[in-house]
């Protein structure tokens, strides 16, 4: 069992996107949703988090907020870069 647990540990610098669904009254911790799982995390390292924000979650801490606008902009840049060469990828590009 222990072996199974440690076979594929989470890479140490890898954080995952999770959405804040509730913030405790003291503002120091929150509950996030992560692919159907709810988890308590610390907000000690970020500021101005509100319910609905997406954050990068790492070892129980929210490390930074994810900017929805910048994510859209990056995807748009990727579409544009790809269009440069390939026509077929275009129609349903987001």
């Amino acid at each position: 069992m222990i072996k199974l647990l440690t076979r594929k540990p989470k890479p140490m610098c890898l954080a995952i996107p999770a959405q804040i669904i509730a913030i405790e009254a003291d503002g120091r911790s929150a509950t996030v949703a992560l692919g159907g799982i709810h988890k308590a995390v610390s907000l000690a390292l970020i500021e101005d988090a509100v319910v609905g924000d997406y954050v990068l979650l790492h070892v129980g801490y929210a490390l930074s907020k994810i900017s929805a606008e910048e994510a859209e902009r990056t995807l748009a840049l990727m579409v544009e870069a790809g269009l440069f060469e390939t026509a077929p990828a275009a129609p349903d590009a987001r």
């Binding site: 440690t6 140490m12 610390s42 930074s64 994510a71 990727m78 440069f84």
Partner: protein, 378 residues
């Protein structure tokens, strides 16, 4: 999951692959080093080398905290767990890493030491609160991503007066290691044309922390996210900089990384930690100002000062090429032990243990593809 699935889109990947193929100049070599082990795994897990033109290859850097930890530091932690009546807790990655003589924290646990795997520093604090008579030592390891959570734990312990909590600090810094790699290029037989900058380390330290890469070494660097499209997009941006210049710090991972980083976390790190004058890295040697120790006002929470543990210099495994793999000079398949005696089930070197290690990436995703990223047959 949002912010994951859309950055793994197949059609966009094809478009980016075609764009990279069109952008590379045929008579030029593109050697791109991904500093971070998380990128090494993203590259292999998603088969990105197969989508790249033959004159573009990825070199794997030292950004795997478990891999760069010198054996002596691990020996120290194991001795501490065995010789003192403490509960030693740490992240899962570290438990199976072989120390001198093939000893591991798991073996120490089997021999009676109280070693625990934790997910978060909050778990370590909870252990200390639950049993005030028991000394709880958190074996801290990691780059800037993992450092602020340790700082929060130390700060919390002080605020709560948790006298039975301490930290054995092995936190290391990204910029000094990157600088050491770039400075050793000529002597080390390595040539790098561009750097894929870390994702989550950069959310903390900000993209400006890498200004020395273009300014002092004349090389392009692009901060890249960890998803496959991020890696490909950043690769395209690097190719563009290499072809046309001017070399600069570019930020592909804008949705999470700013120029100045996370001010709150950086302030906390500055408060709780101080720089060590020098620290030994596996593969890179002793680097000045490259690691953190616990600052004087928090000395009561420093396990190095609370517990006397003396260790001899660690002995590396004979034939293990981890040191060269970490510098990007060798690929895992160049190592004579790779896949023969050194496998994830029986790792001899740290690069095979860690989920960020280059050897583990080759083994998990690339050992049957033959070519790896190097064109050699494994």
């Amino acid at each position: 999951m949002r912010y994951v699935d859309e950055f793994r889109d197949q059609d966009l990947a094809r478009g980016l692959a075609a764009a990279i193929a069109a952008a590379v100049e045929p008579d030029r070599e593109y050697r791109l080093m991904e500093f971070c082990g998380g990128h090494t795994h993203a590259v292999f897990r998603h088969g990105i080398p197969d989508l790249m033109p033959s004159n573009l290859r990825f070199l794997h850097g030292p950004g795997c905290p478990v891999c760069v930890l010198p054996m002596a530091r691990l020996d120290q932690a194991i001795r501490l767990a065995l010789e003192h009546p403490v509960t030693l807790c740490t992240y899962g990655d570290l438990l199976r890493v072989p120390a001198t003589g093939g000893q591991t924290l798991f073996k120490a646990k089997a021999a009676g030491a109280d070693v625990r795997l934790i997910y978060s520093t909050q778990d370590a604090l909870a252990l200390a609160r639950r049993d005030p008579d028991r000394q709880v030592v958190f074996l801290a390891i990691g780059f800037e991503t993992t450092t602020p959570p340790t700082a929060v734990a130390i700060e919390t312990a002080r605020a709560e007066g948790l006298a039975n909590f301490s930290v054995l600090c092995n936190h290391v810094l990204t910029p000094p290691a990157l600088r050491a790699i770039l400075a050793s290029q000529d002597s080390g037989g390595l040539r790098i044309d561009g750097i894929l900058g870390p994702s989550h380390v950069s959310t903390l330290i900000g993209s400006e922390a890498y200004r020395f890469v273009p300014d002092e070494f004349g090389l392009p660097i692009v901060i890249a996210g960890f998803e496959p499209l991020d890696v490909m997009h950043a690769t395209l941006m690097l190719v563009d900089q290499i072809n046309r210049g001017p070399v600069r710090v570019d930020n592909q991972y804008r949705r999470a990384v700013t120029a100045s980083g996370n001010a709150k976390a950086l302030a906390l790190m500055a408060e709780v930690f101080t720089r060590r004058a020098a620290f030994e890295w596996r593969g890179l040697g002793v680097l000045p100002d490259s690691a953190l120790a616990i600052a004087e006002p928090y000395a009561d929470f420093d396990a190095e000062r609370c517990f006397a543990v003396r260790v001899a210099p660690g002995r590396e495994v004979k034939g293990c090429d981890c040191a060269s793999v970490l510098r990007g000079v060798k690929t895992p398949t160049d190592c004579r032990l790779f896949g023969r005696v050194c496998t994830p089930d029986n790792p001899l070197g740290a690069c095979m243990v860690s989920s960020e290690g280059a050897c583990a990436a080759y083994w998990s995703y690339g050992r049957f593809r033959g070519a790896g990223a190097t064109g050699q047959v494994a």
